[in-house]
Amino acid sequence: MLIAQILVNGLVLGGLYACIAVGFSLVWGVLNVINLLHGSFIVIGSYAAYFAYIHLGIHPFLSVPIAAAILFVIGYSFQAGFINRVVAAPVLTTLTLTFGLELFVNNLLIIAFKADYRKVTLENPLGVLTLAGITVPVDRLAAMVMALLLTGLLFWVLNASRVGRAIVAVRMDREAAALMGVKVKKIYALTFGIGAVMAGAAGSLISLIYPISPLNSITFLGKAFVICVLGGLGSVLGAMVGGLTLGVLESFGALAFGPEHAVTLSFITLILFLLFRPTGIMGKKGYE
């Protein structure tokens, strides 16, 4: 029974992890840019949900669109203003640039919101669900379902909409897509915007579960790294599989080694995966 409970805990956590990583994975796959700002984007989403709840009384589930809209504007302008200028540059240049931007944004966040840990505490929590001896808080379960729905929505957008097909085309072959009339720079900015949207949505969902602080951005970023490598890069399905795997891995790891070793465990898994299966669980070829 304990095993089943831990498995469920892991899956609930993993659904949120998928939502955390999917935007990061999309940007990495399509633009070939590691966006070190992703963690801060998630934190901004969390703050949007926090203040919407404190001041306007909007439930974090309902403030997802607000957070997403704010983040889309931020993401789109960062891409159009800064990252588009170095998008074809070597790895080191793009990494250093996003690191510089991350230092700036994170410092702004600390000044604006202080480094205190805050949390959204609902006045009317939905209680707990007990089924066959397994207990799950309904808020968490709902957040996980929302996260998976949003990830599924992104999957649908990429596969069914015109813009989504253009994004996928750019990911496959930039030159060929440009020849087919796709405006590559615009698609880049849009992709980055969508990546930020997913970060914002994830941020407002996890504001119910995680404490909110600018200092958390590095934690989320680390998780996004691991999930991308576990699941395989640049596909929504990969992020989903990676997220669920990491969630389960962390839960069982906490049982076996103690929760303080969760980060070590996930990073060692990351290195092992990079060494022995760099294409991830899904086995698609990653982008170098």
Partner: protein
């Protein structure tokens, strides 16, 4: 002309402890430490073109190895050598494993190493003191003598690093590394054993950093995991090298000097926003000085200003 300038700079640095106050001496010691970090990263990042973020791992490893050795009663100088060796052996093993990766994958793999080591040190409480940090035995000498002693010891390490960098740059190894940077497959084809060359470069990028870490531990007398495994120890050397010019000897040194001045200036003037200003400087650097200050054509710059 260049030799005279170099000689003057050397004499200037040697004279600092005689004329400067403790603040200047401390600042110049940090400057030389930065030179060591930047030149070390240059082996793997500048010459070989592998974006390594492992500097913090080597620094912390050296610091803890040196500190623990000294705690066991091993003399300070021997402890530093052991710290350097520890970092070098670790880098050689790690390099054999992760240097097969390229681009982003290598960057991420090298980035998380410091985090893993930090957590390991954090949890090995008996040996390292964990999150409480580690206190080193205090040296039995006056503060002023100590400051000067550490200054000259850092100077020796910096010179050692510069000489090794210059040697590698001129010889077969440096040539091979530059070939790998341009085209690794082609380099392999013409008989350069890329695996061995890269691993040697990675080890070189660790040995002096490990030494510097052990030095740092003795110098500040107290270390804790979050301090010596700080990600900024990985990123700062990269910024310095980019600031000067990657793949050269003088570039990283000049970059380190400029970076120290900027850092000190920013620290003084923007106490709560120094990380943000540093970030802005990094962004400006990428956009306006992508090849570093050494790539600037000063004559053209002067002519442009006159017009």
């Amino acid at each position: 002309m260049r030799r005279i300038l170099l000689l003057l700079a050397l004499v200037g640095v040697l004279l600092v402890p005689m004329v400067g106050n403790n603040y200047i001496i401390r600042l110049t010691t940090i400057m030389m430490l930065y030179c060591v970090l930047a030149l070390s990263w240059n082996f793997i990042g500048g010459l070989t073109g592998y974006p390594s973020f492992a500097t913090a791992a080597f620094f912390g490893l050296g610091a803890y190895a040196g500190a623990i050795c000294q705690g066991q009663g091993i003399p300070m100088y021997l402890a530093w050598i052991l710290g350097a060796l520890m970092a070098a052996v670790f880098a050689a093993g790690l390099g054999l494993a992760i240097l097969r990766l390229r681009g982003h994958y290598f960057a991420i793999a090298s980035l998380v190493v410091a985090d893993v080591l930090r957590e390991v040190v954090n949890s090995a409480t008996k040996l390292t003191g964990g999150g409480m940090g580690f206190n080193l035995p205090v040296l039995k000498m006056g503060i002023d003598t100590q400051t000067k002693l550490f200054y000259y010891l850092m100077f020796i390490l910096a010179i050692l690093t510069v000489v090794s960098a210059a040697y590698v740059n001129r010889h077969r190894l440096g040539f091979g590394l530059r070939c790998i940077k341009q085209n690794e497959d082609a380099a392999n084809m013409i008989g350069i054993n890329a695996t061995i060359y890269k691993t040697v470069a990675f080890t070189l990028s660790a040995v002096f950093v490990g030494w510097a870490g052990a030095f740092y531990a003795s110098w500040v007398n107290y270390i804790e995991p979050g301090d010596v495994f700080d990600i900024l120890f990985s990123v700062k050397p990269i910024i310095m090298v980019l600031l000067g010019r990657a793949g050269t000897i003088s570039g990283p040194i000049i970059g380190a000097v400029i970076f120290l001045f900027m850092e000190e200036l920013v620290w003084r003037n923007f106490l709560t926003f120094h990380a943000g200003v540093l970030g802005l400087i990094v962004v400006a650097l990428i956009f306006y000085l992508p090849d570093g200050v050494l790539a600037l054509n000063f004559r053209r710059l002067l002519a442009w200003r006159r017009n």
